[in-house]
Symmetry: C2
Subunit: 328 residues, 2 copies
DNA sequence: TGAATATGTGAAATCGTTCTCACATCTTCA
DNA sequence: TGAAGATGTGAGAACGATTTCACATATTCA
């Protein structure tokens, strides 16, 4: 079924059918004839043909590093809350933390003319910046800061600073399970916030007590083992994410080390696991849904062309959530 | 930049450029001229124009009920393992457990000519069946059984049966936190497998000890509270998923009920949370990655047209994983 | 009444590819 | 040598919509 056949059956030109489908600038009489034919035939316009001319899809591409992350899923729920109101659909692409996949999907989304892209990026390489610059599709960056782009990110430095200040009061020897410094938000900002606040609070952190882990429970478990072997006197273990912390806690359980009495443990993110484990994890809550909503709103504005050149940057609030895994 | 301009610049017809880009049936001399022009201009063919003619996208649509589920993320990792080998890309659509969203995305994927769809469905309504029948795009159903379609699903009945047989030995009074029976795999098959095996093992389950929960921790927590209020003598709590079980365990912790001494608890799925919590959860492991790989392989075969009409059904294996949350 | 404006319509161009077909040239082999 | 096959090429017709333009016809207003 094509628009031509519909036109023929309704006894009008295909332009009229097109108008009927779009702006509705059609007389009542023909309008009804067309409606009837469409109802009878179950015709739906070809998306690809439409795309070739008009380049509007009502689709938003969202690129995420991994599925199955609490923080990501919350950002996405914020995004879709806004977008579904505007009758736009979400296409997710998961890169499994692979930078090349990220580039590929960026390109795919652009080629397929999604109306906009939200990039939940992690690491930005030169290739990223080049591609982003070349792409006509509007992009909003979520959870990282990138110069020259609209981006929404949490204030990792101050969140970490605040947590560190709290912990400084009750810590003598601090161990840290951080992530790669290529990840600016999580790897650098959280680390710096912690180190600065601990220093201010009079706690010195031995560089060999800071270990780099992956974003997994397993990695948290393993690095905790190594850390404790080298520094058994540690009484505070600060983890870069809740997932890492839950691995650490599991390890401490297995070693019969009491939490928080012997070692207190903290995470970041207030993911669902943080309240599911025992002891419940002291952590930092970021306003992920809000971040998602903001990102989507900004993107929509740029798509509408209202704020094409305006680059908006936004830092989101945080709360420190004190639970059972810390002293005091 | 269009193929016409490239053709003009290279002094050939656009058909030749098209051949250069596709089958390569071009003389060496012209081939080089074209290559040079393309390199200079950075030309990339328009995906939408290509689509209008050829209807091949190298895209596979995957519809999931929610992001941030361990089982789903493992299936997806299985899927993408197979697809990335074939240079196909994955588009995810998340329905947030909304049937209408599921229909919408099914339609969107079909309209945008993805090469195939993997539907991680939950509930099939008449509207689903109608739409699926109308769509030309090949679909494989994952994790549920649907008559007339290729589907891969885990053997929930026997998995539950096996778990139930194990628990029957050490249980007197069983409570169950199940999910809606509209979800055949999780809501019906698991429940039946459990009830049949318990009966066989001589354990009668009072219908009022079976409660219906949502798929969340919160729901697990709340229903556990209600269940214990009504039936404090329960000594075994079987949950339909690990997530529900982790909510239940949290509740038991709060009530200072010892696990597994007073009440033993089990889940389904062997998600990462099941080993993160304490006590570590006895659960059933399904081969989710394998399921994903199978689904992708079958889909690819159907896309290649090799097995267009062949409907394949497949049940996947399971293991019972005994951990600390059960007696024995 | 006649000009200006609003309203509706269809023919034809356009979007940027792929694909079919006809045709040319070059090998190969009996 | 001449027919059959391989190899390479371009013209032009799809693919199925939107959009521009020109042209009716109906309405409004001085």
């Amino acid at each position: 079924m094509t628009i031509n056949e519909i036109a023929k059956m309704a006894g009008v030109s295909r332009a009229t059918v097109s108008r009927y489908l779009n702006d509705g600038y059609v007389s009542k009489e023909k309008s009804e004839r067309i409606k009837q034919v469409i109802d009878e035939t179950g015709y739906t316009p070809s998306v690809s043909a439409k795309l070739l001319r008009s380049h509007r899809t009502n689709l938003i591409g969202v690129i995420i590093p991994k599925i199955s992350s609490d923080s990501i899923s919350r950002m996405i729920s914020g995004i879709s809350e806004i977008l579904s109101k505007e009758d736009m659909q979400l296409m997710l692409a998961c890169t499994q933390n692979d930078e090349n996949e990220e580039l590929k999907y960026l390109k795919t989304f652009n080629d397929n003319h999604v109306d906009g892209i939200i990039l939940l990026g992690t690491i930005f390489t030169a290739a990223h910046k080049k591609l982003l610059k070349e792409m006509p599709t509007p992009v909003v960056i979520l959870s990282q800061k990138l110069e020259g782009y609209s981006c929404i990110y949490s204030d990792d430095y101050h969140a970490a600073y605040s947590l560190g200040s709290h912990l400084a009061k009750t810590s003598k020897k601090v161990g840290m399970l951080m992530v790669s410094e290529r990840d600016i938000a999580v790897g650098v900002n959280r680390r710096n916030g912690l180190l600065d606040s601990l220093k201010k609070g009079g706690v010195k952190v031995d560089p060999s007590c800071i270990r780099t882990t992956g974003f997994t429970m397993k990695s948290g478990y393993e690095q905790t083992e190594i850390l404790l072997k080298e520094h058994p006197e540690i009484d505070t273990l600060i983890c870069a994410t809740d997932t890492i912390a839950s691995g650490a806690i599991k390890c401490l359980h297995d070693k019969k080390i009491s939490i928080p009495k012997q070692i207190q443990v903290t995470g970041f993110g207030d993911s669902s696991v943080s309240s599911a484990i025992s002891p419940a994890l002291t952590t930092v809550r970021f306003y992920y849904e809000e971040a998602g909503r903001e990102a989507a709103s900004i993107l929509l504005k740029r798509i509408d062309g209202k704020e094409k050149s305006v680059i908006k940057e936004m830092q989101l609030a945080y709360d420190t959530v004190i639970r059972e895994s810390t002293r005091v």
